[in-house]
């Protein structure tokens, strides 16, 4: 171990390289924040002024006064949380089923589910739109949540994780008189929490960032998710003179998720890096 200690420390060279890479990584973010703190008029003349004071919170004040960003935030939160909980529930059940239960056609069904990984959203979005229209699901939370639940990757991921759990545990539980359900719910599911965390973060982010489906399903501005709402401000001539405001909106929209991320960074990164079944 002693001879290998250097494997556990960052070499100065690596540190230098990482620092440069990190700078490239954060520069756009800092730039965005800087722009958001400048008055629109000043930026109109020269965006280079963003490098220097004076800075102002004017743009943020404008956002907090009656814009719809809060509503969109709430919508995004509801949709993303709903999708995440749904995916975790469905994929845990199905992953367990595929990993642990013997039933006719299991392999074929699993392959059938994996095929879904290759389906581009565009191949299904139009018929799905019609389908949802027939059921009156547009402009509703279920309408925004449901499409995210057909997540083949989640099933694959959970199945792989369940396969990694020693079967002795199942057997011990069976001998302890546990039913299939108790076995799943009380014995195995609690063990999958790293995988749940990983899949949860994946799903939450994907749902949070989803753009196309909410664009055509949530057509009323009080049902917009943040992504669509911001796009409605962004792609507009009228806003082109409000660069600072636009950037403040972006920062504002990113803020909640960045805060959540900062608070739970350890858990998120740890869960993902530690997820024993990432393959």
């Amino acid at each position: 171990m002693k001879g290998l200690a250097d494997r556990h420390r960052l070499s100065p060279l690596a540190l230098a390289g990482l620092s440069v890479a990190a700078l490239v990584m954060v520069a756009p973010l800092l730039w965005t924040v800087a722009l958001s703190l400048k008055s629109n008029a000043e930026l109109m003349r020269d965006s280079g002024t963003a490098f220097f004071a004076p800075y102002t919170l004017e743009n943020y004040r404008a956002i907090l006064q009656g814009s719809q960003v809060f509503g969109w935030l709430l919508n995004s939160l509801i949709v993303s949380l709903g999708t995440t909980l749904g995916v975790l529930a469905l994929c845990s059940l199905a992953g367990y089923g595929f990993a642990r239960l013997e039933f006719p056609g299991r392999r074929a069904l699993f392959v059938f589910v994996l095929l879904g990984l290759a389906v581009p959203e565009q191949a299904v979005i139009l018929p799905r739109h019609q389908l949802f229209a027939d059921f009156g699901l547009h402009n509703s939370y279920p309408g925004l949540i449901l499409p995210g639940l057909a997540a083949p990757f989640g099933v694959f991921f959970m199945a792989q994780y369940f396969r990694g759990i020693p079967r002795e545990l199942d057997e011990a539980a069976l001998l302890d008189g546990a039913s299939r359900w108790t076995l799943f719910w009380k014995v195995l599911l609690p063990l999958t929490w790293p995988a749940q965390a990983t899949l949860g973060v994946f799903t939450f982010l994907a749902s949070w960032n989803d753009y196309w489906w909410p664009l055509i399903s949530a057509t009323r501005s009080d049902r917009f998710t943040l992504t669509v709402g911001l796009a409605s401000s962004q792609m507009n001539y009228a806003q082109t003179s409000g660069l600072g405001y636009l950037m403040a909106q972006a920062v504002f929209a990113a803020l909640p998720i960045l805060i959540v991320y900062a608070l739970f960074q350890k858990q998120i990164v740890g869960a993902m890096a530690g997820a024993a079944a990432a393959r």
Binding site: G66, A133, H138, A231, M235, N236, Y237, A238
Partner: protein, 438 residues
Amino acid sequence: MKSRALLRLAAVAIMGAAMGCAPEERRTEISVQRFFGECGAVYGRSTEVAAAEGECGIVTTLINRFAAENPDLDVDANVVAWPGYAQLTAQIAAGDPPDLVTMHQSVISDYQARGLLEPMDDLLRQAGVRPEDFTAAGRRGVTKEGLIYGLPWDTVGGLYHVNTGLFAQAGLMTNGKPVVPRSAEELLEHARRFKSATGRPYLIQSQVNDPATHVRNLYTYLLAQDAVVFPDPQHIRLRTPEARRVVELFRTLEREALTTRNQDYPAATASFLNGEGGVFLTGTWMLGPFEEEARTPGRPLHDSYAVIPYPRLWGRRAAFVDGHAWVAPKRERSPEQRRALARFIGFMAAHNFDWSRTGHLPAFRSVVESPEFQALPHRSDIAPLAAAGAPLPSFVQRQAAIESMVGEELASAITGAKTVEAALRDAERRVNDLLARL
């Protein structure tokens, strides 16, 4: 701790959902959908129409005002991303379109041809709006197959927004008015002179992600030359000497760096505001904001702004114009709702002057002729636009799609990525391919 917080979050979420779904009181509900941007932050609940600036501000306060004046109505105002047709299409496909929606007049035929819009004659009558009062351009824009399909709201066209300060430097001002070129050659000559005198490009153009710019130029000068662009609903004709001439001109301007390059719309706007070029080729909607700049001391445009219609370079004076309209997608409506719509339409018609403060030309003759409109700055300068302006033939469908295809090819020709001939050929082929399958 963590789970407690999560629970609370879930509770908030559920309450939010419940409130969103709660049944409204028994007021007649109408849904109004528009583009023009989201500016609730500034104009949120304001009903001070006269104090509002710009498209977004004016339309927002107008709708607020309407809602305030009609407390018996529940006005659901919906703002969609520009230009909003993907959403509208999705809504119609889903059987849930809004009651009224803003639409470019050039787009009306798309929906009208599929029977998705309601003829509006009855509603207009109910609202007390007489089509005879529309301007010629406005009336042409909303009339399809003899029926009226919308309340025209304005006429929108391209203009030469001029930085007179720089023009003066280049010796291009006479009697306080910009010297207008009378031919393509003269325009090039002015441009070269301008550049050598000021060191700046003559033209400012938004050429990136903005097919409309190129298409507006092309259509305008094809109209001027009386070229038949659409001989019939299934064909476009672009491989003509007239078209080549126009494209070659802009190619030359680009090649000689007589125009800004690589600018998208915000960049071009900023350029003009900062006095980095002579003429900004853009639409009526910027008249208001630029005028505001011209009034502000210390700005590069202060007292240095003029606006003129596109100059006549070939043939006759012409302008390709479009316009906005309020249309009513087909759907079931109760008599109360129809009455509510009529009230809304009547309100918007009555406030056409307010809207014209954006820079767009009014859609009502009475407004055009009104002293208050005439008193707005520069309006007399652009009056010819109303007379000379013409849209594409009303039978042409998918004009937005055509615009993006033609614009894309034109951009390739103008930047030199393709030869002019190849670009026109490709544009013609792509458009015909689309039209053949309607």
